[in-house]
């Protein structure tokens, strides 16, 4: 289904749509307020953007530094050109360890690679340990938001779900009670897993260490109890130096949830005695995006989700309306690079209001890239009728006479036609909106008469 169809469906439940809008606006507002307590906020954004510029220009050498340093630290490195290779690496490690059940903390990359169904097909139990992710996993849904995976659900729905899955009291929707139930349930899973998978927020080239940020401490719990830690990392997650974290960690939590700092920013540098750390470095379309001059800086993204919280479209259509792993504005500039046909409506799911670009902590010009994707998409996937009418319009607008004739005809028609015809169902504008009253003369006509 296209974005407009999904959005229309989402908006049918008006009360819930309003709640969704207000909930995410609350997060955006919190981000606004905390960002304004940092006098150097805009300089931090500039700095972060420049550091990422440097990373993108020198990505190959930073990746080599990162690999060399990580290997020296006793970490094992695996390179994956695409999702399939990523999944194969993970499966191979699990098979070597004879592991049948794993815990996984939040990783958008493993969602992108569809790791869960891949492993489940091989008979491996995958338990997402982030609370929101566990909730959507119970429902067999993907996350609807990259930071707040279950933000589309109200607590009553979670109460019903936990009653069914975790045998909690029927109708008890107290958040503390439900969280305790999830804790007890997850504790067992943590204790039973020999391998833990995490994502990576930042990989540091100069040290070969990586940083994982979670609010729940679930990544740490999983990793410390398991013998083997597999960290799945997109190749763009590199930062040159450890001190760059001083810029990025300050921006990330404030942009994501309006917190001063993420609760757990854990640095992993080398495995404890007797344990193993593996990093799977994944391309999956990233180098192709890097080669697209107009779109390459979409790779600066640190997955904070601020553009989703601020987007007036996302807030009113929900994450699932996008039909892509990363929803919202940033997803709409990343996804067409992966599959332009499938995601051809996404760059049009925007008014180009520019709010996404202004909240972005690494200053990705998101709305300008949405505009640029439109130019690309219409070259190959433009509907014929739309293309034709656009060419016609250019014919009209470059000729003053043609413009005058068609304008006069249009206004005459609007004045003469009965409302029932103007507000015909085929006139999408008029379904829920009136047209302006048609004036008797245009400005041009007025000017000629009054200012000869």
């Amino acid at each position: 289904m296209s974005h407009p169809e999904n959005a229309t469906e989402f908006l049918k439940d008006q009360a819930k749509a309003k709640w969704h809008d207000e909930t995410l606006w609350f997060v955006r507002d919190k981000r606004d307020r905390i960002s304004k307590t940092i006098p150097e906020w805009e300089q931090l954004r500039d700095l972060a953007s420049q550091i990422k510029d440097n990373v993108l220009v020198n990505l190959a050498s930073y990746l080599e530094d990162f690999e060399r340093n990580a290997l020296q630290n006793g970490i094992k490195i695996h390179w994956a050109a695409d999702a399939e290779e990523h999944n194969q690496h993970v499966l191979r490690i699990l098979q070597e360890k004879n592991c049948k059940a794993i815990v996984k903390s939040k990783s958008i990359l493993t969602e992108e690679c569809h790791l869960n169904p891949y492993l489940e097909k091989e008979g491996i139990e995958v338990v997402d340990t982030d609370l929101g992710e566990r909730i959507v996993q119970f429902l067999n849904q993907p996350p609807s938001h990259i930071v707040l995976p279950a933000i589309h659900l109200k607590k009553g729905e979670i109460s019903d779900l936990f009653h069914e899955k975790l045998q909690t009291e029927k109708g008890n929707d107290d958040p503390y009670y439900l969280t305790q139930a999830a804790r007890i349930h997850l504790r067992e899973k943590f204790l039973g897993a020999k391998v833990a998978i995490t994502g990576v927020n930042f990989g540091i080239a100069e040290t070969g260490e990586f940083v994982v940020c979670t609010n729940e401490g679930n990544a740490d719990m999983g990793v410390h109890l398991a013998d083997v830690h597999i960290a799945c990392m997109g190749i763009e997650k590199i930062l040159p130096r450890r001190k760059d974290l001083g810029v990025f960690l300050r921006l990330l939590a404030r942009s994501a949830t309006g917190q001063p700092i993420t609760n757990y920013n854990s640095h992993f540098r080398s495995p404890s005695p007797g344990k193993e750390i593996h990093i799977v470095l994944v391309d999956n379309g990233r180098t192709a995006q890097l080669a697209r001059e107009k779109f390459k800086n979409s790779l600066k993204c640190i997955r904070c989700g601020a553009c989703m919280n601020t987007c007036p479209i996302y807030r009113r259509s929900g994450g699932f309306s996008y039909g892509s792993t990363v929803p919202g504005p940033i997803g709409s500039i990343l996804s067409p690079g992966l599959d332009m046909k499938k995601h051809s409506t996404l760059p049009f799911a925007s008014t180009l209001c520019g709010s996404c670009s202004d909240v972005c902590p690494v200053k990705i010009n998101i709305h300008e890239q949405l505009y640029e994707w439109r130019q690309e998409i219409t070259k190959t996937h433009g509907e014929f009728g739309k293309g034709l009418s656009m060419k016609l319009a250019n014919g009209i607008f470059k000729s003053p006479l043609a413009y005058k004739i068609s304008g006069n005809l249009m206004r005459a028609a609007l004045r003469a036609l009965p409302d029932s015809m103007i507000y015909h169902p085929l006139n999408t504008w008029g379904k829920s909106r009136n047209l302006p009253e048609t004036p008797t003369e245009t400005f041009q006509q007025w000017y000629q008469k009054n200012r000869p």
């Binding site: 049009f348 520019g354 219409t378 909106r433 004036p439």
Partner: protein
């Protein structure tokens, strides 16, 4: 201001020409009152924005060439629209052999309120407008041309429209809950994403209605056409005026 009488060309967006001649007239009269020599070069059509935003920027070269030919010989080009000005400056395609004229032209195209505050350097307007006014910030003016500080950014607050309206005697400027959220017009978005467009428009209207706004104003008639269209359909009593209409009426 005494010796400075710039030769200003009025750039009237196509839908203003066709549907809102009164906004064109108000802009013309206002600029004249502020001491400009204003003319309306004949043969104007459309800047090409609807096509470009729909993904057909490459098909607007003819339109753009026409635009440059009409406006290149003026000191300034002023339009009662942030959106069309932004399009001309940022999204009109480069026309082969006209690059120099285009660049020079882009530096002298202005949206009305920024022209008054930044070029005419008007510090305060004296006049009277006894109404409770809600300001709708069009996104292209707001975040494109930076006509006001953005709620997302950590910057010193400013608002060029408010600077002009704020001094009018009797004008009650209303603070909204969401000062610069999009109304959902978005050009072709208004029809391709109809359901969302209407929802966004209703939410914007509600913010004004909850604050007992009498008149919604703004710098872009496209947003106002959309908001007014919804308000009229739903029988709301709230009124709509372009900022040029308010200023022109107030300073007589």
């Amino acid at each position: 201001m005494e010796n400075f009488k710039p030769n200003v060309a009025l750039f009237i967006p196509c839908y203003v020409d066709q549907f809102y001649p009164k906004v064109g007239i108000a802009t013309l009269e206002l600029l004249e009152k502020l001491g400009c020599k204003v003319s309306f070069p004949a043969g104007q059509t459309c800047c090409g924005q609807p096509l470009a935003n729909a993904g057909y920027e490459r098909d607007t070269i003819g339109t753009t060439r026409h635009f440059v030919a009409i406006f290149k010989n003026f000191d300034y080009v002023v339009a009662p629209s942030g959106s069309c000005v932004l399009h001309v400056k940022e999204h009109s395609p480069r026309v082969p052999s006209l690059e120099k004229e285009q660049k020079e032209l882009h530096d002298k195209v202005f949206e009305l309120t920024e022209f008054i505050t930044d070029i005419l350097k008007v510090e305060r307007l004296e006049g009277r407008f006894q109404h409770r006014v809600g300001y709708h910030a069009s996104c292209h003016g707001q975040r494109g041309l930076r006509l006001a500080s953005s709620s997302e950014l950590n910057q010193i607050p400013f608002n060029k429209a408010r600077k002009l309206l704020g001094n009018l005697e009797g004008l009650d400027w209303v603070e909204l809950d969401r000062t610069d959220e999009c109304c959902g017009f978005g050009g072709t978005f208004a029809v391709t994403e109809e359901a969302l467009s209407i929802r966004m428009g209703r939410d914007r209207l509600e913010d004004h209605l909850q604050h007992q706004v009498e008149i919604i104003t703004g710098g872009d008639m496209s947003c106002i056409m959309h908001l007014e269209g919804i308000a009229t359909r739903e029988g709301q009593k709230i009124k709509f005026m372009h900022i040029a209409e308010i200023l022109n009426q107030a300073i007589t």
